[in-house]
């Protein structure tokens, strides 16, 4: 696993130094260790003594070996060994860098770009000419290969992006085969088997060296989602059939507020050796209809995103009929065929109109309903304008209804002539009429009309200027059969025949179902064939890039239905959602029949991994080894020289231990003990807490402010808080603190979702947060100062009730001191608290309203209280207040009083609002 063959030296001539090692060995052997000089007064006593035993006067072999190794490591280190030198090898031929910039390479695109950049850097160093070619870029391929300097290409590298489509090798193959020059090639492959890859590889090998770099990470994709057995299923594909692998697929769609969220998550496991697995979502209709796309969690490629469209939607359809079916004549019921048609593809609601509208149906179908009560008509019209589809069928009642001349039923697309007409019936001369092929403008365009569909009766539209435009199907003689009109965001469609087989055989035919599909009332049963969509122009709604990111596609031209149905994603046909009238179609990167297979390469092609193959300089390791050996040499030399005793030896041993024993990571002490100590500290006494913003200056101010307030509280009240604690809302437990002081600046981080959840729990369970934007409320709470804007962002997802400026009878004004203003370092800012309940009334003779419930979970202000409270450890005030002087000190005092009131309010709740205190308070108020 250690590719030694890929080890080269950048300065190999330095290795000659290794030859000198034997000489050094001999020299060092020859010289004994030097004597130590020591001053020693008792040397007089030593004079005349003789050495009884002789120490080795030569350096022992193991010490020599140690030093030689250290020296060798140093020499090798300075020779700059490089693992996997890649293209760093000197080569004279120009280098062609090919990139399969497809969706499959989007997952590790940054690594690919880095790799190309590294190769370009080397090429620039060696002056090699380079060309970078994206295989998915299908622009003009003529002329010579664009070899240029590495510097030029490096500038263009950032613009290289993976495409959501896959490369077309044929064009490049023909282009390169027309080139005569020789060059080396580095091919950054996405690792998927593809037609033409082999041929291109052989061609490139004929021109020079071919090196292939492939990513190692798992390649997975999602195919088109389907609706099966009342469940939404998505097929996940993978390239590497190895061990089993579990994946999670997220279904994403808008929540009722229109913000995209994860609707559901399902997981599935690839069995060993399996290439595909089916992930199924069993969701309620409403939830399932919301899904816009599916994503494999953790993958960021267009292939791992499957877009959802109409085919997944189960529409809610409300059905009404003008006449109740007569008993035993089920087949004559105006709704029978509709029910049958809607059975599988939609959810049917049959209830009174007002009730049905509450269920927010997508479609309302009215069969032969002539008169609608005015209130219901208005409700229905409003619903249609909001995007509903109203589908009406004619019938005897409608034909009989006599319209007042000039009165236009808004819920009909056209005015109807009373009476209708009969063709081909027993009492008429003509024969039943067939349908005329659908026009190009019609949503039904392209549907084949069976011969047996005939119409015998119908209602007839009044001729009018808009009639032709509103007709989407007509009989052979040109009389309109189906008309529609847009109304607001929705539309009204009228079939001029009945919904049962009385007037025509249309409801009996398959055409009827297809027409309902086209009107987006029924879910599409299957993927459409090109013929189905022929001649239609679909407008792109949102399109996807190679990373699977969607963007609005207002700037793109419409595409033809055939191309869409064929589903060949390319530069002209981006994956995304397309819309035609009421219908929506999702074009996904992965075609339903796609199988992901690992690419195979011709023999003789060097395939390197993307991650492991990066250039790695080993110089540092060798030099570190040399240093380590030299460090070992110190105690070894001392040992040999007899100096490893006494305090010096101990010192050396300690030094060596410190050097060799790896330091345990600082975090190893764990949050456990630390967290417990913190919890004990936070709960043993009352502790005021502030939110750590990450800005050291603000945090120090908060800490000093709460420290000052704690001191004042200790001195003046029965509350004796311990030193304040900084709290990280992302990690720390909040439940211990009665009060959180939260300074908000424009750079304050916005808490994560989990933190928001915990903050909400904290607020709901009686905690209080004091938000302080510290900007003197320059722009008001709804204003646009950066801090208040950030406060709005933070508070957006917090559970904060309606607010109001502190009313003069709020408990906060009298929980300890009697106050009417709440200054901090600034005094003008408005302070907001939870709004009093609307039914709070002031009783006769009482100075305050009875606001006996609930402590405001938030206090929002901008007065920079922490600065006014801030006291250093030496007891001095840290910040000036107001204009300084006596007035400033007065303001500081009022700030402290506000702080005391605040803490009292938090700790005692609405105790001071209790009526028991009213007489005493009245007395103090001087009333």
């Amino acid at each position: 696993m250690f590719p030694f063959q890929a080890l080269t030296f950048m300065s190999p001539w330095l290795l000659i130094g290794l030859l000198a090692l034997p000489v050094l060995w001999w020299l060092m052997r020859a010289v004994p260790p030097a004597a130590v000089r020591r001053s020693f007064p008792a040397v007089t006593l030593l004079l005349g003594l003789r050495d009884e035993e002789s120490t080795p006067d030569r350096t022992p072999w193991w010490l020599m070996l140690l030093r030689m190794l250290a020296l060798a490591a140093a020499i090798i280190g300075f020779a700059q060994p490089v693992l996997n030198p890649g293209a760093a090898k000197i080569a004279s031929k120009p280098l062609l860098i090919l990139a399969d910039a497809s969706w499959a390479s989007a997952g590790d695109w940054a690594a690919r770009q880095d790799r190309i950049a590294a190769v370009l850097t080397d090429a620039r160093a060696s002056g090699r000419r380079v060309a970078v070619l994206s295989l998915t870029d299908q622009s003009a391929r003529t002329g010579p290969l664009p070899f240029g300097t590495a510097g030029d290409w490096k500038a263009a590298l950032a613009a290289l992006k993976p495409s959501p489509w896959e490369p077309d090798y044929a064009a490049v193959t023909s282009w390169i085969s027309s080139q005569k020059s020789a060059f080396d090639t580095l091919w950054l492959s996405d690792g998927l088997a593809r037609k033409g890859r082999d041929g291109l590889a052989r061609l490139l090998m004929a021109r020079g060296n071919l090196t292939v770099v492939q990513g190692r990470n798992a390649l997975m994709a999602l195919a088109r989602p389907r609706f099966q057995d009342r469940k939404i299923t998505v097929t996940a594909l993978r390239r590497d059939t190895g061990q089993g692998q579990e994946i999670r697929v997220n279904a994403i769609g808008p929540d009722p507020a229109g913000i995209e969220r994860r609707v559901a998550t399902a997981s599935a496991t690839f069995g060993p050796g399996e290439r595909s697995v089916t992930v199924s979502f069993d969701l309620p209709t409403d939830l399932g209809n919301r899904i816009r796309r599916f994503e494999i969690a953790g993958l960021r490629t267009a292939g791992a995103v499957a877009l959802a469209d109409d085919a997944l939607k189960r529409r809610k359809v409300a059905l009404f009929a003008g006449t109740a079916p007569r008993e035993g004549q089920e087949l004559l019921s105006p709704l029978h065929y509709l029910r049958k048609a809607l059975q599988t593809g939609a959810v049917v609601i049959e209830a009174p109109l007002r009730t049905s509208l509450l269920a927010a149906p997508d479609v309302v179908i009215m069969a032969d309903v002539a008169r609608i009560a005015p209130a219901e008509r208005d409700a229905l019209a409003a619903w249609v304008r909001k995007g509903g589809t109203l589908l009406r069928f004619a019938g005897p009642r409608m034909a009989a209804a006599r319209m007042r001349p000039g009165a236009d039923d808004p819920l009909l697309p056209v005015r109807l002539r009373p009476g209708g007409r009969d063709v081909g019936g027993a009492m008429s001369w003509g024969s039943p009429r067939h349908l005329r092929p659908f026009g190009k403008e019609s949503p039904f365009f392209g549907l084949t009309i069976p011969d047996d569909v005939t119409v015998t009766s119908q209602v007839v539209a009044q001729p009018g200027p808009q009639l032709a435009a509103r007709t989407i199907a007509s009989l052979q003689d040109g009389t309109p059969l189906v008309t529609w009109k847009e109304m607001g965001k929705g539309r009204v469609v009228l079939f001029h025949v009945t919904a049962n087989a009385e007037w025509s055989s249309l409801p009996l035919s398959g055409l009827f179902v297809r027409m309902l599909e086209r009107l987006a009332i029924l879910r599409r049963a299957s993927t459409p064939t090109p013929a189905d969509m022929a001649g239609q122009m679909w407008r792109p709604e949102r399109v996807m890039d190679g990373f699977g990111t969607l963007r609005k596609a207002d700037d793109l031209a419409a595409v033809s239905g055939e191309a869409l149905a064929e589903g060949r994603v390319g530069p002209d046909l981006l994956p995304g959602t397309y819309r035609l009238g009421p219908r929506q179609f999702a074009l996904n990167v992965i075609r339903p029949d796609r199988v992901l297979k690992a690419a195979t390469w011709p023999a003789g092609v060097a395939v390197a991994a993307l991650s492991g193959a990066e250039r790695k300089s080993l110089a540092g390791w060798f030099l570190a080894l040399a240093l380590l050996l030299l460090a070992l040499d110190i105690p070894a030399t001392l040992l040999v020289g007899g100096r490893l005793s006494g305090p010096r030896g101990t010192l050396a041993a300690i030094f060596l231990l410190v050097l060799l024993v790896p330091h345990p990571p600082a975090q190893a002490q764990g949050a456990g003990g630390d967290g417990d100590a913190r919890a004990i500290r936070a709960t043993r006494d009352t502790v005021l807490a502030y939110v750590i913003t990450g800005d050291a200056r603000i945090d120090a101010k908060s800490e000093a402010g709460l420290y000052g307030l704690s001191r004042v509280l200790t001195r003046r009240s029965a509350v004796e808080p311990a030193d304040p604690i900084g709290v990280d809302v992302e990690k720390d437990e909040l439940a211990f603190f009665p009060l959180l002081y939260w300074p908000v600046t424009e750079t304050s981080p916005i808490p994560s979702d989990s933190a928001i959840t915990r903050i909400n729990t904290y607020l709901q369970t009686g905690g209080m947060i004091v938000f302080d934007t510290q900007d003197a409320d320059i722009a008001g709470i709804n204003g646009v100062s950066p801090a208040s804007r950030r406060l709005q962002q933070i508070a957006a997802s917090l559970d904060i009730p309606a607010l109001e400026p502190v009313p003069p009878d709020h408990v906060l004004t009298r929980s300890f001191y009697l106050l009417q203003s709440f200054p901090g370092r600034f005094s003008q800012g408005q302070v907001w608290v939870e709004a009093a309940p609307p039914d709070a009334v002031k009783l006769e003779g009482m100075p305050f309203r009875n606001l006996n419930d609930g402590v405001s979970p938030v206090v929002i202000g901008a007065n920079d209280w922490a600065a006014a409270w801030a006291v250093g450890r030496d007891g001095g005030y840290l910040y000036p207040v107001g204009r300084g002087g006596y007035a400033g000190e007065r303001q500081r005092e009022m700030a402290y009083r506000f702080g005391v009131n605040l803490v009292m309010y938090v700790l005692t709740g609405n105790y001071k609002s209790d009526q028991v205190h009213v007489p005493a308070l009245l007395e103090r108020l001087g009333q």
């Binding site: 000089r37 001053s39 007064p41 008792a42 050495d51």
Partner: protein, 297 residues
Amino acid sequence: MTAQAGHGPARLRQAAEEHAARFPPLLAEAQRLATSVTPGAHGRRREGTGEEFWQFRPAMPGDEWRNIDWRRSARGDSHFIRQHEWQAAQSVLIWVDDGRSMAFSGDPGRRPAKIDRARVLALALAILLLRGGERVGLMDDPTPPRTGRAQLDRLMAGLIGPERDDDHVSPVAQLFPRGARAVLFSDFLGDTDDVVNTLRQAAGQGVHGALVQLLDPVEEAFPFDGRTTFHSMSGKIRFETLRARGLRESYLDRLAARKDLLASHARRAGWQYLCHHGDDSPLSALMWLYSTLQRGR
């Protein structure tokens, strides 16, 4: 601080300042040490000239009139004479070896040099003695021992003299004041003949005293190994060994022999001998010295 031959008044002045700079800490340490010893009154337990009251005795013929204590005599019919305790001051001579050898400390950061310890002990002893009214002087100093606080300053000036070049210095045998005491501080690692001579001479003059041998723990332990060149503090004496550990036994034997020699000569001359180490408490040495000087009285 290097020895600087006095060339010109400026040099001399500088050297003097350097030496003087060491006075206060030395004195302070000596004072501190001295205060921890509380000497009792040490009269002679016999009547004589002095200031402390000793006894009343009935006047006898031959006594001078002025010696009669009239206040006591007025209480009775006979005359009484007030006698005082004899409080004769004793002369103590101190000698501190200031050879280069004494400047050695085995662990300069933590242990004072031997000479520093010797000076502190000498000064502290002097303070105690001066407080007791004795006369204290230096052996090297030709001026006779004196008493009083001013003598302390003179002693100090004499103790901190210019540095010497020699490794070892010997006490100069001389004429001691009658009945004087002497204290010799040195490491006694140099030639012993001079010391023995001095002892013999002192004993001949009836002078008793104490030998304090100051040794550094390193000199006691000899914790060396490997190839080592030992040299004396001045660098004049050198000795090289290939394996220092092998010499340890013989060195320790020689050191013990040296101690025995000193102790036996001291005993023979009626002197006391103490071996004091740099890491011992100076207080115990001071107590020992003080009691030793008291004893022979």
